[in-house]
Subunit: 144 residues, 4 copies
Amino acid sequence: MLKPIDAALARSVVRLRVRFYETDLMGIVHHGSYVGYLEVARVEWLRRRGVAYVSWAQRGLHMAVVDLTLRYRAPARFDDEIDVEVALGEWRAATIRFDYRLLRVGDGVLLAEGATRLACVDDKGALKRVHDEMADVLARGEAV
Amino acid sequence: MLKPIDAALARSVVRLRVRFYETDLMGIVHHGSYVGYLEVARVEWLRRRGVAYVSWAQRGLHMAVVDLTLRYRAPARFDDEIDVEVALGEWRAATIRFDYRLLRVGDGVLLAEGATRLACVDDKGALKRVHDEMADVLARGEAV
Amino acid sequence: MLKPIDAALARSVVRLRVRFYETDLMGIVHHGSYVGYLEVARVEWLRRRGVAYVSWAQRGLHMAVVDLTLRYRAPARFDDEIDVEVALGEWRAATIRFDYRLLRVGDGVLLAEGATRLACVDDKGALKRVHDEMADVLARGEAV
Amino acid sequence: MLKPIDAALARSVVRLRVRFYETDLMGIVHHGSYVGYLEVARVEWLRRRGVAYVSWAQRGLHMAVVDLTLRYRAPARFDDEIDVEVALGEWRAATIRFDYRLLRVGDGVLLAEGATRLACVDDKGALKRVHDEMADVLARGEAV
């Protein structure tokens, strides 16, 4: 059962900078480092809607990644600034999907696109419905 | 243009053990750590067919990941031994795809499934056709 | 041969936030993650003095870590904001040492102290004297 | 109060292989990756003495790193095999110290030396004395 999403409210842009240790011997950002970028962007998406994800984690409410997709379009390099566009793309009873586009600040080159599907689980890893408090947040836009 | 693949020859199983630092505060393996497991498995897949990938990298022949998919089925934990089944799944003019299944040794639980599409690129990142030397290797089974 | 250092000019404070993937199953930041924090702080220390370290790296001027020391005083946790105090602590012909103190923003708790000694090396890893351009930067304070 | 150590019993050698993602844009192993190598070696040191560290962690017995020192002697590279020599170097009431030497297999080059001091802590991070079960293990050599 899909919940409706307001595309304008559901989108944030999170800026970060490539760290030296995120590169590999090809001289570019290692493809695995992007997984961390998506994670940082999700946490900031929530913070912009008034939620410290850490407070959920402390109460045993986790959003576990169950699916991950990444398409690499152009190499990112050390010290690049990256804008991670993150948007709530799908909202079901027990899972949500975030979609991402990573663009290099400056030249606007599309570096990568991706998606993560997340499931609500408790401390034991048992699947939970999206609880009301979480639902409130998902429907929110960035706080002004 | 697809090249034919002999499924029996194209498959290897690489065993590894979860490291402490690969876990996160949920007490399980962080979803990003699996990207490294796939990479280790690809490198060993080549080694079993007589190729040290490092020797290609030194000559400027890289197999860059252009697509990554991971589906997480059950959490892996610190010190788990994991069998990574890795198989050449598709072979085109300039890209190949490896498919993966990760199973916990002992109970045989399926932990994750995934795929990576790789493109042959040179030191500048320019796309190359799969060169003959590489093609020879891709058609090979594990050395006896 | 030690070069004199102006302690007031030589110090910067770089703020960062703990990422989810930097934690481990003990529920705290993994001790290895601090190595990255020191690196981020060094790169920002240079940027505040007008230098993009990436431009040096592209020209084959590297500051390779030759010694690393870290003392862990209190656990950092996911989403903590950390102020990394970084100061040029010693300046010799071919090596420099940065000293670090990491404090949690908010309660000011000392999380860790550390030091890294760095050697100037070229692309082949051969030791170089601190070149004049680098020396200029090391003597500078933060740009106003 | 120092406990006596039998140097011959206290030493193990753990072999591992450098992973691609452990390198950086200098083309060598990133200095932070060595922290993981020491950790892997400690876990194997315990396993060779009959202990799965994971079983301690599950019961809330942790050996937290409180001090870390690394001296980098020569660069390690992708796919290098490394022998990590790990020895119990000091044993006090509530802390122990492991000493490490990392040598490249093949040419025997010393890549790095290091030490970690570890404190016994419970799930809350409170300091504990080395418990008897742990003490038994520390006094043991490798199982035959």
